[in-house]
Point group: C2
């Protein structure tokens, strides 16, 4: 059991915003969403599980690709509706093959 | 104008999830949400502006506290619904006075 009660009410569908950061390099790898079930699976397995909003299903990150993320540390924010997970990734976080989903700079002008 | 079309449709209310990271230390400082207007203000001013879901109003980070965040780099994720902003913060990101809103480890057991 977790010591801090998480607030799943802020995003419709009962979701927590979750930031995934590489524990070693501190690079932000991706942002995904967890419902209560995916959080329970993450806690139980030590690997990241999310709720896919597009597919409307539980999603074990790396379950198909092999690029699992082993959870090293979990932080919860001040209002308990957002998680920061520091992980050790087995491979790229992004389905494009990039290490991080944030591989595109947003150009001004 | 931005080169990449952002997708404001994923979170009801027309919001983009935005991760704010310290450009120097790479610490994740906070997560907040932007609507089109706050993104436009952020681009125009080079400081972070968000949409407060609780107050339902535009919110200039640091406008009251003085703890503004100067934007150094903006990254957009693979499906263009999430931003990563690297910033130079003038002070703590969290209203509690902590450098980051993610100051609480989530204990297992």
């Amino acid at each position: 059991m977790s010591a801090i009660a998480l607030d799943f009410s802020k995003i419709p569908g009962g979701l927590l915003t979750t930031v995934v950061q590489d524990a070693a390099t501190k690079q932000v790898l991706m942002v995904a969403y967890m419902n209560a079930e995916s959080w329970a699976k993450t806690e139980a397995t030590g690997e990241t599980w999310f709720w896919s909003r597009s597919r409307q299903e539980l999603w074990h990150k790396g379950g198909t690709s092999g690029n699992i993320q082993t959870v090293q540390k979990v932080w919860v924010d001040c209002d308990a509706d957002t998680l920061l997970l520091e992980v050790t990734p087995a491979g790229p976080a992004c389905h494009t093959g990039h290490t991080s989903c944030f591989y595109r700079p947003m150009n001004k002008d």
